[in-house]
């Protein structure tokens, strides 16, 4: 579903944010992407979804290169940033309707999906208000609903659980499981190792722009906690 090959991104000024990253996310995966602050998680994600350019490598979504056909790739994926800056001058329902128009969702489908997701996230009553009046968590929920409206094959999220209340976080986790059961894929970055451990079937650990461990979570942890594995792997890299 998502294939990252030899991805390298160096910012102007010389900082190499990501170096020769290789990663595969298959259909049915909930793939956790973990690392310390400044490790390169957000840069990787932004390169995958087309926000930033990269010097080397390629990203394929469902076999299509993001460089060759970015529009087709973007129609298959949905991205939710860690701090979703939405169109504050729109109401919630206007934003969702706009997203549905972008993805050419039919009237009947959009009404049904908006109804279901907004009820699940308890956002229905606020849809008539301007997004500028929403709290951070409400904007997060709206961004999630907007991302799900076209039933993407690949959902990419950057720190999705920050700002969500416990009920909304549980709702999102359930949605992720449902998507994977349907053969879709989820790729998300997080600092919260507990969440990654319980939710993901695969993880990748990145440090200083380089992938230092990746694979099936059970094979990686071998019965230990993800936290201790993470600390050990990161320390080994520092020692080497």
């Amino acid at each position: 579903m998502l294939s990252i090959k030899n991805l390298t991104k160096t910012y102007k000024g010389g900082k190499t944010a990501v170096s020769h990253l290789n990663l595969e996310v298959e259909a049915g995966d909930i793939y956790g992407f973990i690392g310390h602050n400044g490790a390169g998680k957000t840069t990787t994600i932004k390169a995958v979804v087309g926000i930033i350019d990269f010097e080397e490598g390629d990203v394929h979504i469902d076999g299509i290169s993001i460089k060759d056909d970015p529009l087709l790739c973007k129609s298959k994926l949905a991205y939710i940033p860690d701090n979703p800056d939405l169109y504050e001058y729109l109401t919630g329902i206007q934003y969702l309707n706009f997203m549905a128009d972008i993805f050419h969702i039919s009237k009947a489908d959009r009404e049904e999906r908006i109804k279901n997701h907004c009820e699940a996230f308890e956002l229905t009553s606020s849809l008539g208000d301007l997004i500028s009046s929403y709290s951070h968590g409400m904007k997060q929920k709206l961004a999630i609903i907007g991302a799900l409206i076209h039933k993407p094959d690949l959902l990419i999220l950057d720190e999705p659980f920050v700002g969500l209340d416990p009920k909304a976080a549980l709702t999102l986790k359930n949605i992720m499981h449902e998507m994977c059961d349907e053969g879709k894929a989820i790729f998300f970055s997080t600092h919260v190792l507990d969440v990654a451990e319980k939710l993901c079937n695969k993880v990748a650990i990145i440090k200083n722009g380089q992938l230092i461990a990746s694979g099936n979570i059970n094979e990686l942890t071998k019965g230990e906690s993800l936290e201790s594995v993470f600390m050990e792997v990161v320390s080994n890299v520092e020692t080497n």
Binding site: Y11, K12, G13, G14, V49, G50, I51, I52, D53, P70, L71, L72, K74, S75, Y79, P81, D85, L86, Y87, E88, Y89, L90, G92, I93, Q94, N97, F98, M99, A100, D101, I102, F103, H104, I105, S106, K107, R110, E111, I114, K115, C118, T124, S125, S126, L127, G128, D129, L130, S132, S133
Partner: protein, 528 residues
């Protein structure tokens, strides 16, 4: 507290015009863009200084040297007034940074005073840019004493205070009233425009008194103009008296009034700061939405509707662009009211109005297109354009459509009124339709081109993007420059038929528009 004020003001000023970013960024591309922007600003400043020098020399050659300080003082005050309207809510009453600062061991007064000082500093810069060239030209011509220069310097130091106070007060009241309305930005923008129209009409009434000039008054035109300016803005006369006649009482009155009004406003704002901030930043929520039937739209229509909402959600965006379109309508209104002959006499261009009106309307309509900052206005929302399956052509088309939707009603009214005023021939009617139309199209597309070259997607204050960004400045400059050749040709190349000049203008602009449009659409969505 003085130390805190100094620290806070320095902090706010250190990134004036992006200086701190230029100093510390390692991004060579960014440095190059900033260098280019600096050159553009320097060019605009040079043009301003040149214009002031030419104007001052013109006054001297007409025997009206004593008008120079008064006129320049008034013009500077008006510019500060117009530019500072929205700075009040954006700079002085900005809550986000206030909340961060007030949690530190800083006095609230120091925070507020530092914001005023920041506004004052930028306005003072403008004041000096206008007053110094005029003062030098006057000095070289009239050879006044030392007191002239001393009083000019002191007067200029206090120049920004009154217009700043007035614009802060009016801008705050308008924003506060607008915040209570459903479409608050539209309401605020509308009130600003009404205010601007009132100023223009007042100025026109005052100027129209020249039609009632007697021969004696005409002999002493300088005094007549002085009294007209005095009717509009009395402090300018006090400044004039102070510098021209070394009238220390006039200087004292000017300084006292400016300082007193400013201090009074500062004290009121300090006392009611949080109340005013709350009123300005109030949002209402109903929290009672019930799902309704939704309608689907095409991609272009969806983007266009979103873009229109963006436009009407910003009062500074509305007022900055619509003022130009209003002027486009006011020109034929003036023709209808005053008559073509009188207008030609006033501007010393007999038989020319019918010929140049299409070009004049074109300049006015094209000078400030909304597209010139439409990409920058996306700001923090740009990630949506980058990650959604939207072609760059569709995105840019939606922005062009938005500009055209807003300008079209004004264009149509201006066209009808111009036709009624001029009763032109068939060919002249054609130019009246096509020339402003092609300028509008050109400016729409050029605005996108230039904004793609000078995008600013990280900003705190819309006013900076709409009024002060390199993109809007360069667009204005280019649109102005592109109008000059045909106007110059009409006036200077009298042996060339006007219809030929119009035809060439139409073809050249249409071609340029096509080239820029195609070029824009080939570029992918801007990556950050």
């Amino acid at each position: 507290m003085l130390k805190q004020i100094k620290q806070l003001t320095t902090l706010q000023l250190c990134n004036l015009f992006g200086l701190n970013e230029i100093r510390h960024t390692r991004d060579k591309g960014k440095k190059e863009r900033y260098t280019l922007m600096t050159l553009v600003w320097l060019l605009l400043i040079a043009m301003l200084v040149f214009y002031i020098a030419i104007l001052s020399n013109a006054f001297i050659s007409l025997g009206m040297a004593e008008i120079i300080p008064i006129y320049l003082y008034t013009i500077t005050c008006l510019v500060i007034l117009m530019f500072s309207f929205f700075k009040a809510s954006g700079v002085i009453f900005q809550m986000n940074s206030f909340e961060i600062l007030v949690s530190l061991p800083l006095s609230k007064s120091a925070i507020i005073v530092s914001r005023f000082l920041t506004m004052y500093s930028t306005n003072l810069l403008l004041s000096f840019l206008v007053m110094i060239p005029g003062t030098i030209i006057y000095g070289l011509s009239v050879h006044p004493g030392l007191l002239f220069y001393i009083f000019s310097f002191i007067g200029t130091l206090f120049l920004p205070l009154l217009p700043m106070t007035l614009s802060t007060a009016i801008g705050t009241v308008i924003t506060a009233i607008g915040s209570r309305m459903k479409h608050k930005s539209l309401a605020s923008g509308g009130m600003i425009i009404l205010f601007a129209i009132a100023v223009i009409i007042a100025n026109t009434i005052v100027s129209n008194q020249s039609s009632m000039l007697t021969p004696d008054m005409l002999k002493n035109i300088a005094a007549t103009v002085t009294s007209q300016i005095g009717a509009l803005y009395p402090p300018a006369i006090w400044f004039g008296n102070a510098v021209l006649h070394s009238d220390i009482l006039a200087l004292f009155a000017l300084v006292s009034l400016s300082a007193a009004v400013f201090i009074l406003m500062a004290v009121i704002i300090q006392k009611y700061f949080l109340t005013i901030c709350t009123a300005l930043n109030a949002t209402s929520t109903k929290n009672n939405y019930k799902l309704q039937s939704l309608s689907a739209a095409s991609l272009l229509k969806a983007l266009w509707q979103k873009e229109l909402k963006r436009y009407f959600a910003s009062s500074v965006y509305i007022s900055n662009t619509i003022i130009g379109y209003l002027m486009m309508v006011l020109v034929p209104v003036a023709l209808l009211v005053a008559g073509i002959d009188k207008m030609e006499l006033m501007f010393q261009c007999p038989g020319m109005i019918e010929k140049i009106l299409p070009l004049i309307l074109g300049i006015i309509a094209g000078i400030m297109p909304s597209t010139s900052c439409s990409i920058s206005m996306e700001g923090k929302n740009w990630w949506l354009a980058q990650t959604l399956p939207i072609k760059s052509k569709t995105l840019y088309d939606s922005k062009i459509l938005t500009h055209l939707s807003v300008v079209f009603p004004f264009y149509l009214v201006a066209l009808i009124l111009s036709w009624i005023a001029l009763k032109p021939s068939l060919l002249s009617t054609l130019w009246l339709i096509l020339i402003p139309g092609v300028y509008i199209l050109f400016s729409s597309v050029a605005g996108i081109t230039i904004n793609l070259l000078f995008p600013v997607l990280v900003w705190e204050n819309e006013t900076r993007i709409v009024k002060q960004s390199a993109s809007t400045m360069v667009t204005m400059l280019i649109d102005f420059i592109i109008c000059l050749p045909p106007i110059a040709a009409v006036f200077l190349l009298k042996n060339i038929p006007v219809d030929l000049i119009m035809g060439i203008t139409l073809i050249v602009l249409a071609l340029l528009t096509g080239i820029l449009y195609t070029s824009n659409n080939r570029k992918p969505i801007l990556r950050t």
